[in-house]
């Protein structure tokens, strides 16, 4: 359920800037993420989408600009707000970042063990529940290296949702996957976003999948957001930057048709 337009956004970004040495990557990014939405930030490779997401997650420190969660600014000096944000936000890494020396169950229970005061029994039960929601219960004793790429992605999502976050940040969730697997990952995100009702912020360069899966999309180009709107607005926009990026995607119509079928079926 997406929040009404009058409700304040869950996450707000104002004039976010980040440079690496002399090279500016983000040059004043402004964005508002409504609660309950699937929001996708599109953009060609190398435009700083992952840097943007890592600044939001607090993994990277921005040079300037403000990030606010539920209206409260996230600043390094306010440890309480930062801790609260980290408890309510999860990050899904491009390469999953699973702990290779821990089993699937141990991977999922780790955030609960280390950040909550739940009993061992409750941690076990919530972790098994997350695994079963992602159809991984029978693989609970397997190590990540003994799983397929798709299963690892689901395991990473299980670890991300086990703390029942309100915001999940997805960093290129389909990077390096073939079209069929890309569709499956986006279907999975939409399916579980509906089931757990978290707000999803995805950065990707896969236009067809993002347009089908998202409620809102933005285009990051040249260090700034040069478009923000609904997927339909994006598809019909005549803005030269949007049309240039949109047209660069191969076989858009064909892919859209196939993914629509999968998402509707799920």
């Amino acid at each position: 359920m997406i929040a009404s337009s009058t409700e304040p956004p869950l996450l707000k970004v104002d004039q976010l800037a980040k440079s690496f040495g002399e090279r500016p990557v983000l040059e004043g990014v402004d964005l508002s993420i409504p609660r309950g939405s699937v929001f996708t930030v599109l953009g060609p490779s190398g435009t700083g989408k992952s840097v943007f997401l890592k600044c939001l997650a607090g993994v990277m420190q921005q040079d300037s600009g403000m990030i606010s969660f539920e209206g409260r600014p996230l600043v390094a000096s306010d440890k309480e707000t930062l801790t609260d944000f980290r408890k309510r936000c999860s990050f899904l890494f491009q390469n999953n970042a699973l702990f290779d020396s821990l089993s699937a169950l141990e991977n999922v229970s780790l955030p609960l063990e280390q950040t909550t005061d739940l009993s061992a029994h409750e941690i076990q039960s919530r972790s098994l529940d997350a695994l079963s929601q992602l159809e991984l219960e029978s693989y609970r004793n397997r190590y990540p290296s003994q799983m397929s790429g798709g299963m690892q992605k689901r395991l990473a999502l299980a670890r991300a949702i086990v703390t029942r976050p309100e915001l999940v940040l997805f960093d290129e969730p389909t990077a390096g996957l073939d079209p069929l697997r890309r569709n499956a990952v986006f279907s999975m995100i939409v399916k579980y976003q509906r089931r757990f009702n978290f707000t999803a912020l995805i950065v990707t360069h896969d236009v067809p999948e993002a347009l089908v899966a998202s409620n809102r999309v933005a285009l990051l180009n040249g260090g700034k957001i040069c478009f923000e709107g609904t997927p339909d607005d994006f598809s019909s926009s005549l803005d030269p930057v949007v049309t240039g990026y949109r047209d660069s995607t191969d076989a858009l119509r064909e892919s859209l048709a196939s993914i629509r079928g999968q998402v509707q079926a799920s």
């Binding site: 993994v59 980290r86 390469n95 970042a97 290779d100 780790l110």
Partner: protein, 274 residues
């Protein structure tokens, strides 16, 4: 003209050299400060690290049980060599009866803590640096931080506590095995009376020698774990290497630097006890 040319090249060269020295000095100061903060955070995390027991037991196993055979072998042969060399040196002065004292004081005050420390660096310190380096490379450490998990507390603190328990224990074991090695070569092979050997050990060792031995073991444990963990934890900071090469470079740095620091600390601690 010649003088003018020399002056015009000398000053920029001098300035460049001073700039390089200054930058290097600042890098070293930054590194030392950062290492001190890293060690402080790892100790501080003892207070609020959750469910540490399982990781602590695993760390004790990794540092203790896995390194046991190496400690036993090196301890035995160190004792054998001390017995052999000691016998022939003391024989020149007709003082073979002091063999036990020589073997025991050499082992307790110097050889056991230093050699056990170096063996543990080679065995578990290098493994620690490589493991953390791989975890840094595959973003596992960043993942912990995004989950709100204190990465120092989760990854380093259990190893630090384990080192404080394991290093003194392994050193004590090294000493005992070394005594037996000395007895084997001195008494069994070279004919020093066994009773004389063991009573000489008993008379020679004082409580301050044991205190020095265990303080050294604990200091070496802290130094080797924190240096190896620091190098692995920041394997990505070395910009000249990336990926697997960065991990291998971090592991090499960890072993070399912690071995050097063990020897430096050995001199410092010894100077307090002399």
């Amino acid at each position: 003209m010649l003088l003018h040319c020399t002056e015009s090249t000398f000053l920029p060269r001098m300035s460049k050299m001073l700039h390089l020295i200054g930058r290097k000095a600042l890098d070293i100061l930054f590194g030392l400060g950062d290492y001190a903060l890293f060690t402080g955070r790892s100790f501080h995390a003892v207070m609020h690290s959750k469910r540490i027991w399982r990781r602590l037991i695993r760390s004790i196993y990794e540092q203790g049980t896995v390194c046991l055979p190496v400690i036993l072998i090196v301890g035995l042969f160190t004792g054998l060599v001390l017995g052999l060399q000691g016998y022939h040196i003391l024989n020149r002065f007709g003082s073979e009866g002091l063999l036990g004292a020589m073997v025991s004081l050499s082992l307790v005050r110097e050889m056991a803590p230093v050699l056990a420390g170096l063996m543990l660096i080679g065995q578990s310190g290098s493994a620690l640096a490589a493991e953390l380096g791989i975890q840094r490379n595959s973003e596992q450490i960043v993942a912990l931080e995004t989950m709100g998990v204190e990465s120092h507390g989760y990854l380093v603190t259990p190893r630090l506590i384990a080192a404080l328990l394991v290093y003194p224990f392994q050193t004590a074991l090294f000493v005992v095995i070394g005594f037996w090695g000395g007895s084997l070569s001195g008494s069994l092979l070279l004919g020093v009376d066994s009773g004389v050997y063991w009573s000489s050990i008993q008379r020679a060792i004082e409580s301050r020698d044991l205190r020095e031995c265990f303080i050294k073991a604990a200091v070496f444990g802290i130094l080797s774990v924190t240096i190896c963990a620091y190098q692995g934890f920041h394997a990505d900071r070395n910009h000249s290497d990336t990926g697997a090469r960065a991990v291998s470079a971090a592991t090499t740095r960890a072993v070399v630097m912690s071995s050097i620091m063990v020897l430096v600390a050995d001199y410092v601690v010894s100077s307090f006890f002399i």
